[in-house]
């Protein structure tokens, strides 16, 4: 065995030696190509990084879905961040983070069906509670939504925010973006909204709903819970994967 290995080594050694003399040109060409490829790779990475760092962010003056969301929520009562008839027997609670892309998917694809089938007819109401797990920008956004809720436009704010959600932590959540969403959501008194979203009261409220979610043992967003005549207090649902799952949970709670 070791003989064979020795032989193999010697052969490789010999071939290496030969290569240095015999295939010098071929070798030089390959190494040149290699160096060229390294150069190209460096340029490509630098360009990608430069392009990435100079772009990004949402365009606050160009929100999507303003009219659509207005139409979807029209006629449904809302108070604070609770959507639906206040006397509805069943309350579905969503613990969400405005920066969370999965919450956006729920807002865009899952909740509209629940709203149409069970909230519009007064069977259930949906309460959004801020669980701002993704950092200070999420907290700022959470307070902005609460301030919109104080003027009866909380759900318009939430939905419009999700519809125009940007890349998390990319810095798109600035004063301009938040104000653009407020205007698009139909918040009437922007000056009041501005003052309120920065108030200690709302900052405390954001912290309180965070603490509540943690107390319930929730670890991620969106997390759902339901409360109704057939449940023993607030019943945690976790993150049901389809509108049907949420609808049947509401049925069972009623």
């Amino acid at each position: 065995m070791s003989d064979r290995r020795e032989r193999e080594k010697r052969r490789e050694q010999r071939l290496r030696e030969e290569s240095k003399v015999g295939s010098g040109e071929r070798r030089a060409r390959l190494l040149q190509m290699g160096a060229g490829a390294v150069f190209l790779a460096i340029v490509a990475v630098v360009v990608l990084i430069v392009v990435n760092s100079s772009g990004g962010g949402g365009d606050p003056s160009n929100l999507e879905g303003v009219a659509e969301i207005e139409a979807e929520l029209e006629g449904i009562p809302q108070r604070g961040l609770v959507l639906g008839d206040p006397r509805a027997k069943v309350e579905l609670v969503e613990y969400g983070d405005l920066q969370c892309p999965v919450c956006k998917q729920y807002a865009d694809q899952i909740l509209p069906q629940v709203i149409e089938n069970q909230v519009e007819n007064g069977q259930a109401k949906i309460a959004f509670r801020n669980f701002a797990i993704l950092g200070p920008e999420s907290e700022t956004a959470a307070a902005a939504a609460l301030a919109a809720g104080a003027q009866g436009r909380g759900w318009n704010y939430l939905e419009l925010f999700y519809r125009n959600q940007g890349q998390e932590h990319s810095g798109y959540i600035d004063d301009d973006f938040l104000a653009a969403v407020a205007k698009g959501a139909g918040v009437e008194n922007i000056a009041d909204w501005e003052a309120e979203r920065k108030s200690k009261k709302l900052t405390a409220e954001v912290a309180a709903s965070f603490a509540e979610a943690e107390r319930l043992g929730l670890t991620g967003t969106p997390s759902f819970a339901v409360q109704g005549p057939s449940t023993d207090g607030l019943q945690i649902l976790g993150t049901p994967g389809s509108p049907e799952d949420l609808e049947s949970a509401i049925e069972e709670a009623g």
Binding site: S19, G22, L31, G34, A37, A41, I133, E168, T219
Partner: protein, 150 residues
Amino acid sequence: MKFPTEGNLRRVIAFVAALGIGVATYIAIADSGGGAPACLAGGGGCEAVANSSYSHIAGVNIAIFGIVGYAILLLTAFFVNDLARFAGFATALGGFGFSVYLTYLEIYTIEAICQWCVASAVLMTILFLLNATRLIGYAGTIPGQLQEER
């Protein structure tokens, strides 16, 4: 300095590439399903990274590109000729450059670190060094004469 034999380099390249396939496959599977996805609080770097828009290119999870890249690298370890040497080097260089870019994104844009992505970046860096060593040390050696036994 004692230069590693090409056989040894190829064996290590094959081993590291196989590990890379494992890591990239795990990321792809974890991303593609298994219950409802959720953004996790605390230590949720992988969720933040996986949920970011950078995790897919043209709808394809970048881990799939990783699997393909590692598979090519594994394949090149089985051949002893300049094409394999150069293809291995070029693929590892591309993978390494892409890993640098992704790590930059994780740190400065997504602001979340996913340990699986870091693992892949480390493996790709090792593969780049190994393939660069192989190309520099053995480019131009006569093809076809080093068909190793085993």
